[in-house]
């Protein structure tokens, strides 16, 4: 005796994305795996500003101007908004090539297509293109199985190719690339301003108070000021320096990656083909250019249905699904586990059987290993085979 079993699993695409990213809020937020330094950044910014609002602002608002805390609040919100935008958005990750594309445009495919000029054989993993009368080499990425577009680079920490890759910033917990570079730049700029602002008004506050009650008493009255001054002093040197460096890069339309590698350092008369040779134009392109959309459809739905005849054994286990794959959920719900678990199905699967016939959108942990989509039909059908 058998019945037809329909099992339906609704997943979001982010659950199946390769790479070492963490996703939160059902795919709306995308970050790197190591977030410890990012939390430190948040703590320092929020903590220092909280101390400023607690100790300095009441005094300064009364004795100088109420505009001081107002402007500080505005600056603080701008810093937080740009920081969160930088950290949570897709930096410009290139999705990996599906098998047919990889075969067609891979290193061997290139030679077969006759794109290699006769008489010359560049190494198969490099493709030459001409951009603005400059020869640029495109390298083949063996992980993503694509020839990287110009200015793209593979981030080892996130295990993704990122367009216009700048660098991986642990302080924001994400890569900085084409889509979030302007937010990163505005974050460093506004953080510099905020740091200078707080530092200046700390000094002003201490001076004003010392005139009234003496220096030592001032420090006793407002212990927070000392902490703020220390944090701001160290932050100033690093963040202001970083802002200056990135302003230089923006004006030349270069990335940190290119600068470190010396791609356009001028030897062999190699020049930056992307620069407009005009500082204003370069700044406008980088900071006011179009907002590119994400090529990763993180929140798209992936519905897997499997129809299979299921024998109904005499025992009471007649609701199980031979399609259930993993029996353990990942330890951290939103961490992306590496796809190293091959499904091995036993007909009697107890415990972690996914909710079948209702959408899973709000359920945190998927208990299916994130195998790449092309393998799914083969895998599920192979699994069916196994079950009998």
């Amino acid at each position: 005796m058998s019945a037809i079993m329909v099992s339906k699993k609704v997943l979001r695409k982010w659950e199946k994305l390769p790479g070492k990213n963490t996703f939160c809020c059902d795919g709306r937020v995308m970050m790197a795996r190591q977030k410890g330094v990012f939390y430190l950044t948040l703590f320092l910014i929020v903590g220092t500003c909280a101390l400023f609002f607690a100790f300095e602002c009441p005094y300064l608002a009364v004795h100088l101007s109420p505009a001081i805390p107002v402007f500080a609040i505005v600056l603080f919100f701008f810093v937080m908004a740009t920081l969160l935008r930088t950290s949570f958005s897709d930096p410009g990750v290139l999705p990996r090539a599906l098998p047919d594309e990889a075969t067609f445009s891979g290193p061997r495919g290139e030679a077969a297509n006759g794109n290699v000029p006769a008489g010359q054989r560049p190494p198969p993993r490099i493709r030459n293109v001409q951009i603005n009368n400059q020869i640029v080499k495109l390298k083949y990425c063996y992980t993503c199985k694509i020839f990287r577009p110009p200015r793209a680079s593979h981030c080892g920490i996130c295990d993704n190719c990122v367009e216009r890759f700048d660098h991986h910033c642990p302080w924001v917990g994400n890569c900085v690339g084409k889509r979030n570079y302007r937010y990163f730049y505005l974050f460093t700029l506004s953080l510099s301003l905020l740091t200078i602002y707080i530092f200046t008004f700390d000094i002003v506050h201490v001076v004003l108070r010392s005139v009234d009650s003496g220096f030592v008493n001032t420090l006793k009255d407002t212990p927070g000021t000392v902490l703020e001054v220390v944090v701001c002093f160290f932050t100033l040197w690093s963040v202001v320096g970083l802002t200056g460096f990135h302003t230089y890069l923006v004006s030349l339309n270069q990335t940190t990656n290119e600068d470190i590698k010396g791609s356009w350092s001028g030897k062999n008369r190699v020049q930056n083909p992307y620069s407009h040779r005009n500082i204003m134009k370069n700044c406008c392109e980088v900071l006011c250019g179009p907002m590119h959309p994400s090529a990763l459809d993180r929140r798209g739905e992936l519905i897997e249905l499997a129809l299979a005849p299921v024998p109904i054994p005499a025992s009471k286990n007649n609701k199980e699904n031979p399609q259930t794959t993993k029996t353990t959920a990942p330890l951290i719900p939103n961490e992306h586990t590496p796809d190293d678990v091959k499904s091995s199905i036993a007909p009697e699967t107890e415990g972690d059987v996914e909710e079948k016939l209702s959408p899973l959108e709000n359920k945190p942990p998927p208990s299916e290993p994130p195998t790449p989509p092309p393998a799914d039909p083969a895998e599920t059908t192979a699994v069916l085979e196994e079950a009998f």
Binding site: E101, C288, P374, P377
Partner: protein, 180 residues
């Protein structure tokens, strides 16, 4: 043995398409499963980087399409797509305005407003759908929107018809992702 038929339904950017497959043969549902067409091969139109990192595709006519579609039609399609992308990435008054306005609101405005690029992408998606329905599906071809391939390639699937092929009434565009 087991006749397990696996269906996968994908939803991407407001369109859903269905791929049916089983172990023995694969057929891809273009027009409500009434006739079966099997995927012969795929052609990938690569990016053209001669003008920089702006999104442009090569208009070189691939040899595999020689017997399937007229060269002019193909080139027109690719050129129109290139024009759409140029329009999306144009750096001018409107993009500056959008950038400055967004900056002034600390980019919160993008939670409710669509960017210009996204609007053009929707236009592109409609254009590709229309091209598929009118010109490519009758010739047994199917264009996949480049955004679904990370803007790296335009994927054109070439099908072998079995039986008569009518014009497609469904509005889906299917990308086959399973190997044979």
């Amino acid at each position: 043995m087991s006749d397990g038929i696996t269906q996968q339904r994908f939803q991407h950017r407001d369109r859903s398409y269905t791929v049916y497959g089983n172990m023995a043969t694969e057929f891809h549902n273009l027009q409500e499963l009434r006739r079966s067409a099997s995927l012969a091969t795929k052609v990938f139109i690569q990016r053209d980087y001669t003008e920089g990192t702006t999104c442009q595709f090569q208009t070189k006519f691939p040899a595999e399409l020689d017997s399937r579609i007229e060269r002019q039609l193909f080139e027109d399609t690719v050129k129109t797509l290139n024009n759409y992308y140029t329009e999306a990435e144009k750096i001018g008054g409107q993009s500056y305005l959008e950038g400055c306005l967004a900056c002034a609101t600390a980019y919160i405005i993008f939670l409710c407003m669509e960017t210009r690029y996204e609007k053009v992408l929707k236009k592109i998606s409609r254009y590709i759908q229309e091209q598929n329905e009118k010109m490519y599906a009758p010739r047994g071809l199917l264009i996949t929107d480049p955004i679904e391939r990370g803007m790296r390639v335009i994927e054109i699937s070439i099908f072998e018809d079995r039986g008569s092929s009518g014009s497609s009434s469904s509005s889906s565009s299917t990308s086959s992702s399973s190997g044979r």
